[in-house]
């Protein structure tokens, strides 16, 4: 750490290589940029998958429309996977997320179609309905999660058992509600949370979000540099910071550009034009779609969860517990309370996903969320979360969810039938974990 540097007192200490000495090899570049190699590997895998499918499908995979679809289809699993990371990091498991999601989704559907409009007398389409429904869903999720967490942490029943019970209980309760009837259609405002052209930010909203995000990321990198320098930590070379900032800006603004490159479907655009008295130009009226709300929700969740995991005491405690439960307890961490809140958080996120899924389908069905627990756990694990505890990142899990959905979606396009899809996804899951373990053995 204390390498000699040319800078005089107070200035940032440079890593071994100076500003002008650029790296000689890719390995050196990665080391100097100080990025998570596992995350980098995942990005590379995703790139290979995307390009591979694009070639295999004759160029119909990497289109704005398909990537937009992919982002919306991944959102629900990715949201829950961020919570599953903390659950698995703390050496637990949550098998009940799919059933919780179904139960919460069903309750919200009842609330917005029956309880609020009829029992409370708000009437269908009242503007408060979607807000009350969302709040109900989130509170219910948190409560369910906390109850399971309470039993796990304080009654010393393994989480595998408690959540296996939860899987059965919540699914069973769905049926008790309304004899398993499908509830549809849902509140029109609520439905926007599930995406679709109307449920998206639009062109300028998306650019605004993209630019703000870029500024925040660049400012964050600069601030991090200053703080590291202040406390005498080794900092990245200037060129690495610049490169990283440029790369982040490219990814963020590129994603916005892709989302905007997908225009509203012709029919909807024409309807919109007619309603607003806009004359339709010869080439058709083009409205860029922009980032869909579920994707925006997913990104917000990922940022908040990353902050919780890496910057808050609660998050650090969870990693400490996963790394060594006894040591964590002896060092004064209230492990039981932390575990309970990990499951509370997981329940809350199942509530968020329930909003996205029911809104997207515009219905609550009894099968809502069935086997989602497997997808969520797979996403977290493909994203580098270790079952031995203490290791796992939120961005990794989000990428894991995108990898899974990319595989599924690409295979559907290639007309691979669903049993073969299962076989391939299963092999990929095991291979990803095997590769991860091999990497870890090599590097330590």
């Amino acid at each position: 750490m204390a390498d000699a540097s040319t800078a005089s007192g107070g200035a940032a200490r440079e890593a071994p290589r100076g500003l002008r000495q650029l790296p000689q090899s890719a390995g050196e570049l990665i080391r100097a940029a100080d990025v998570d190699t596992r995350l980098l590997g995942l990005v590379a895998a995703l790139a290979i998958i995307w390009i591979g499918f694009n070639i295999a499908t004759g160029g119909s995979f990497l289109t704005a429309r398909n990537l937009w679809n992919l982002s919306v289809q991944s959102a629900s699993i990715a949201i829950m996977a961020t919570g599953m990371v903390l659950v698995i990091v703390s050496r637990n498991i949550d098998l009940s997320v799919g059933s919780m999601l179904g139960f919460i989704g069903y309750t919200m559907a009842m609330a917005q179609t029956v309880w609020l409009p009829q029992t409370l007398g708000l009437g269908l389409g009242h503007p408060a309905i979607w807000i009350l429904t969302v709040v109900l869903g989130l509170v219910l999720g948190l409560l369910i999660g906390l109850i399971q967490g309470l039993v796990i942490a304080y009654a010393f029943i393994p989480s595998f058992i408690v959540t296996l019970g939860g899987l059965l209980v919540w699914r069973g309760l769905i049926f008790q509600y309304a004899q398993g009837q499908t509830i549809a259609p849902l509140d029109t405002t609520f439905r926007l949370l599930g995406g679709g052209p109307q449920g998206s930010l639009g062109e300028w909203g998306s650019w605004a979000v993209g630019i703000v995000a870029t500024v925040v990321v660049v400012a964050g990198l600069v601030l991090l540099r200053r703080r590291q320098a202040k406390y005498g930590f080794q900092v990245r070379p200037i060129w690495a910071t610049v490169l990283l900032a440029a790369f982040a800006a490219l990814v963020i603004l590129g994603a916005v550009w892709v989302a905007n490159a997908y225009p509203w479907p012709e029919n909807l655009a024409n309807q919109y034009a007619q309603q607003h008295g806009i004359e339709i130009p010869p080439g058709g009226y083009i409205i860029p779609t922009g980032i869909a709300y579920p994707v925006l929700i997913m990104i917000a969740v990922a940022i908040v969860m990353t902050h919780i995991a890496e910057r808050r005491r609660f998050g650090r405690n969870v990693y400490a517990i996963g790394g060594n439960p006894q040591a964590a307890e002896l060092s004064g961490i209230n492990t039981k309370r932390a575990i309970m809140w990990v499951f509370g958080l997981m329940g809350l996120l199942a509530g968020v996903s329930a909003i996205v899924q029911t809104a997207r389908l515009n219905a609550a069905v009894t099968g809502l969320g069935v086997t989602n627990e497997l997808d969520v756990i797979s996403a977290a694990v493909i994203g580098g979360t270790s079952f031995s505890g203490g290791i796992g990142t939120i961005p990794g899990a989000v990428l894991g969810a995108v990898v899974m959905q990319s595989l599924r979606s690409g295979m559907v396009q290639m007309r691979v039938d669903s049993p073969t899809q299962d076989i391939i996804v299963g092999i990929v899951l095991v291979a990803a974990v095997g590769f991860d373990a091999w990497l870890r053995r090599r590097t330590t």
């Binding site: 119909s60 269908l124 479907p265 515009n362 039938d417 669903s418």
Partner: protein
């Protein structure tokens, strides 16, 4: 009533747990889940139903009450068990129901093949078997169902009436469920090209099975097909209402709902509402209450005389497996915007449910 029963079961479990606590003995995994319906006096006719998966929309709401009503009328007893979509559990259920003294067995089979040993066991004990809604490949069983090939024909006929050429998408149900293929057969019968083929006028631009008839999966499939074909899809044949819901959600996102005809079946409330709204073209309605009543009455008849030929209104049915079965096949009804009054008159759905969000003046039955 459900709550009281649940409480009672929990009470029993608590006692069992307390008993186990002392010695740490092994617990017997009894999970028959049988419940006696009337609980009244002795009866010489006990009819048992083995459901494959009670947690689906219609069984509890429509079928079971109709079966029970028919049995009550004749003073027969009702027993049931739910296999929760498991073949093994269903085999256990049948054994349990037989040992509880069932005189007639009604089976909604999870799997038409693996149920055969259970059916043979029942028939060997002199208990006649009714294959309810789903075929069982045993010539000794009485097959009571709606004509599923006919359902497929009706779906395709209604869609072809709106659009008779162009690009078609076919969203099929579970690949392991024989009904998926019966329905597909119906499509072929009325002029839709067979699997993997195209005709002069109709091109199939997308066809897929859907695991567990999952609506959310059907939505993703439909989105994929629309993306691939750049929205150039003229009609969608969806095998049931749940999946039709997913399909319509995908079409709605492209502003195509109401322009592309979509089929369905089951008479789901939400689907009938879509028919009224114009976003779903046809809902082939199989009044499950008719089916339940037919099964209940047949069961009572079999209690009197276990010879299948003694049941009234039966016909011969050639099964795909080459068996000649005694069967009762009911005729479904295709519900479109023109005859929505049928489901209203049958008290299947309330006017409020049917007409939710429908603009006045667009459909006759909605004010």
């Amino acid at each position: 009533m459900v709550i009281r029963r649940t409480a009672a079961v929990l009470g029993i479990l608590a006692l069992a747990l307390a008993a186990c606590g002392g010695g740490g003995g092994s617990s017997a995994g009894a999970s028959a889940g049988a419940s006696s319906g009337g609980g009244g006096g002795e009866s010489d006719c006990t009819v048992a139903v083995s459901w494959n998966n009670y947690q689906e929309e219609r069984w509890a709401l429509r079928d079971e009450p109709a079966i029970k009503a028919a049995l009550d009328e004749a003073g027969a007893e009702y027993l049931s068990a739910d296999a929760g979509s498991s073949e093994e559990q269903q085999a256990t259920d049948v054994e349990n129901l037989l040992s509880q003294g069932a005189n007639v067995l009604i089976i909604l089979a999870q799997n038409t093949e693996t149920i055969l040993p259970s059916v043979e066991a029942a028939i060997d004990q002199g208990v006649p078997v009714i294959a309810y809604d789903r075929l069982i490949e045993s010539p000794d069983s009485l097959y009571i169902s709606f004509d599923n090939v006919r359902v497929g024909e009706m779906q395709a006929e209604a869609v072809l009436e709106v659009v008779d050429s162009g690009n078609f998408v076919i969203i099929k149900g579970n690949g392991a469920d024989a009904n998926s293929d019966f329905l597909r057969q119906g499509y072929t019968n009325v002029g839709v090209p067979d699997v993997g083929e195209n005709s002069d006028t109709i091109t199939i631009v997308g066809e897929t099975y859907t695991d567990n008839w999952d609506p959310a999966l059907a939505q993703t499939e439909m989105e994929q097909f629309l993306t691939e074909n750049d929205n150039d899809v003229d009609a969608v044949l969806s095998e049931n209402d749940g999946m039709a819901g997913g399909v319509v959600a995908a079409l709605e996102a492209q502003g195509l709902a109401g322009q592309v005809p979509v089929s369905g079946q089951d008479g789901d409330i939400a689907a009938l509402n879509r028919v009224a709204l114009g976003t779903q073209t046809v809902d082939v309605w199989k009044d499950a209450r008719e089916l339940g009543r037919a099964a209940g009455e047949a069961a009572v008849a079999l209690c009197e005389d276990s010879d299948l030929a003694s049941v009234p209104d039966t016909q011969e049915f050639e099964s795909p497996g080459g068996n000649t079965l005694t069967s009762i096949l009911l005729e479904p009804i295709a519900i479109t915007q023109d005859n929505l009054d049928v489901v209203l008159d049958a008290d299947w759905i309330t006017e409020e449910e049917l007409c939710q969000g429908v603009e006045s003046g667009t459909v006759d039955v909605c004010p």
